[in-house]
């Protein structure tokens, strides 16, 4: 012993860890306790997640079940309404037709449904929290460290509590995705509102605006470019996480990628990967073009 330790005492040489038995006992105690807690509350958990489950199922079914022409038409219409750019619409059409042609239409629809729901939830959650964070320094000092942890925590790590509490399936997957995708929405809403020209907010005050009037007339409209960047980031992160969430039972393109990794299906893996990239680009271009279009009034020049 002493030879491996350069003649140093044992404590300094090998790290003084808790002995294996104590560790095992503690672990078992915590695990059973936690599981017991989850089991005890399972009714409540099921009751709360049930409507989410139904909502997700219905949406997924309508995406997958509808004739592809209808889905494509609606999708292109949304892209056109948001971007007003024929180029983007054409690109989206080509990408979707390509995806359908290699036989990934149904899987893509599942992913699309999931990303849509997750983005809506993340925005609906992130916007009010971001506004609260911008309003109060105290809230910010609480929210910011939480966001720091959420963003530094590897995504695999928080799949663990999600799975333990909610089990396997779409809803836990969705919860994991929303947790992963919500930080940029909160951060950028907060930042956008805090960066609004103080003279303009002062003007709002000077004319006797209530807090609500100030928020709706001044702060949100002026923070909109930053908030739109947040929405864009949230969409991108939802897409990334939907793939990882396939490990807890979310279907779609992500599951195909997971299977391809497990079985070394080179072609399938790449095709699904490209389909994901295509969707990501469509979302990104559309949301960015929408954000830019909202800023038309900033263009200078007499006209």
């Amino acid at each position: 012993m002493a030879t491996t330790c350069w003649g140093l005492p044992e404590v300094i040489c090998t790290f003084p860890a808790i002995d294996t038995t104590t560790m095992r006992e503690t672990r078992r105690a915590i695990d059973t306790g936690f599981r017991g807690l989850v089991r005890e509350w399972s009714d409540v958990i099921d009751a709360t997640t049930a409507p989410l489950q139904t909502f997700l199922n219905v949406l997924e079914r309508s995406f997958v079940g509808a004739p592809w022409v209808v889905v494509l038409a609606v999708l292109l219409l949304v892209v056109w309404a948001a971007s007003r750019s024929w180029k983007t619409v054409l690109g989206a059409a080509l990408a979707m037709i390509g995806i359908g042609w290699v036989g990934l239409w149904a899987d893509t629809m599942v992913t699309l449904a999931m990303v849509t729901v997750c983005t809506v939830f993340a925005v609906a959650l992130g916007l009010p929290v971001g506004i609260l964070t911008a309003r109060s320094d105290r809230v910010q000092s609480i929210v910011n460290p939480v966001l720091d942890v959420m963003q530094t925590l590897p995504s695999f790590v928080y799949l663990i509590p999600v799975v333990v509490i909610f089990g396997i399936g779409k809803v836990p997957g969705m919860i994991a995705v929303v947790i992963y995708a919500v930080p940029p929405m909160i951060r950028l809403t907060n930042l956008g509102i805090r960066l609004v020209d103080p003279e303009v907010t002062e003007a709002a005050d000077a004319f006797g605006s209530s807090a609500r009037q100030k928020l709706l007339n001044v702060q949100l409209p002026l923070a909109l470019p930053t908030i739109m960047t947040g929405v864009n980031q949230t969409i991108m992160m939802s897409l990334a996480m939907v793939v990882v969430a396939s490990m807890v039972g979310v279907g779609g393109l992500g599951r195909n990628v997971l299977q391809a990794i497990n079985n070394q299906f080179f072609t399938i893996g790449f095709l699904n990967g490209f389909a994901l990239v295509a969707i990501a680009i469509i979302f990104d271009r559309t949301s960015q073009a929408f954000g830019k279009r909202l800023q038309k009034h900033r263009e200078a020049g007499h006209g």
Partner: protein, 369 residues
């Protein structure tokens, strides 16, 4: 350009008539102190006992914003608060609509203390009684000129059917007809500030607060805006508080001028009071290079008629500034004129040598010789 200066002089002469009567309530600031810092109230006694701004900052890390402000701003008149940057003038104007609360002191308007108002009362006061124009315009970039102008009315909850005609009226009055659908970014600085002015006027508030409203504009545009303001004031008679760091602007606009330095009032009076009798060296250094012909009024230098002296044929109004009197007299080739006050009461006579002597700055004359 020529046309502009003449209209300006005309408006100057009438709007600045000190005898004009109005019935608007004035603003009264009493014993106001403002200290910035976490423990401001604690240091009031020391400041009142004479602790200086430097000492307060060095010893206690608190900034003395305003000290011992007592100022009456007459209703229906333009009161100019003049001072260099850091003198506390922007802080002072923000006390009037409660954007900043004083450490101690009162801001009275029509018997109410603005500083004691609850949040709701204060919001109501801001909506109905005050309007503000900002140095960097502070327009909403995503709203058109029309939407910006009716902003104050939107806040009051007035329906668009009523607010739009009002907004359009004021857009025309400030000379922006045809620009109602433009966005602020499409307008020049001067035009943007006209929108700022229209927005403030559309509110139809008694008090108009102008925080360095024209300081960010080019000199020519600034003169133009001053003319517009005086022209409007001639008919509106609002209680205007105007902040500036420019003495010429202060003299041109102010019925009453308050000079602020390091948060304390150095001198309060009419432009003429300040130019003719600066209270101290600081004020004197400010007014040394002022064009006195534009400030001093005929009534001030009119002398009693000598016994047996004939009454001059030409008559001038007592409130006219000397420059204007000189121009009229030279145009009429008169060497002397009869100065009359309101109601045609005789104030005395004025002759060219006296006139020229009063226009020439004594200090400049000394250094020139």
């Amino acid at each position: 350009m020529d046309e502009m200066t003449t209209t300006m002089e005309q408006t100057l002469a009438t709007a600045a008539d000190p005898d004009a009567e109005t019935e608007r309530a004035g603003i009264e600031i009493r014993d106001l102190y403002k200290i910035f810092g976490p423990d401001a109230k604690h240091h009031i006694a020391a400041v009142k006992a004479g602790m200086s701004k430097d000492e307060l900052n060095r010893k206690h890390r608190h900034v003395l914003g305003l000290q011992n402000i007592n100022l009456t701003m007459p209703g229906g008149k333009i009161t100019v608060i003049m001072g260099l940057s850091g003198s506390g003038k922007s802080t002072l104007i923000r006390h009037i609509n409660g954007l900043i609360e004083p450490t101690v002191g009162e801001v009275l308007y029509g018997g109410d203390d603005v500083c004691r108002m609850s949040q709701t009362e204060l919001r109501r006061f801001r909506r109905l009684k005050t309007a503000m124009v900002f140095q960097r315009f502070a327009l909403l970039p995503h709203r058109t000129v029309l939407e910006n102008t009716r902003y104050g009315l939107d806040i009051q909850g007035i329906p668009h059917s009523k607010s739009e005609p009002t907004a359009k009226h004021w857009i025309e009055r400030v000379g922006l007809k045809g620009y109602a659908r433009h966005y602020p970014a499409q307008l020049s600085g001067g035009m943007q500030q006209r929108v700022g002015l229209a927005r403030a006027l559309a509110n139809d508030a008694d008090i108009l607060l102008m925080d360095e409203a024209f300081s960010a504009l080019d000199p020519l545009i600034r003169m133009d805006m001053q003319a517009i303001l005086l022209e409007l004031q001639e008919e509106l008679h609002k209680t205007i508080v105007f902040i500036t760091h420019d003495l010429d602007e202060a003299l041109r606009l102010g019925d009453k001028i308050a000079i602020l330095r390091d948060g304390a009032l150095e001198q309060v009076g009419t432009g003429q009071d300040i130019v003719l009798g600066p209270a101290n060296e600081y004020v004197a250094s400010f007014v040394r290079d002022v064009n006195r012909g534009r400030v001093i009024r005929a009534a001030t230098i009119a002398r009693a008629r000598k016994p047996g002296e004939a009454l001059p044929e030409m008559t001038v109004q007592g409130y006219l500034v000397l420059e204007k009197v000189a121009r009229r007299m030279t145009n009429a080739s008169a060497t002397s004129a009869h100065v009359v006050g309101r109601n045609g009461k005789s104030l005395g006579v004025i002759d060219l040598p006296t006139l020229l002597g009063a226009i020439v700055t004594p200090v400049t004359a000394d250094t020139d010789s």
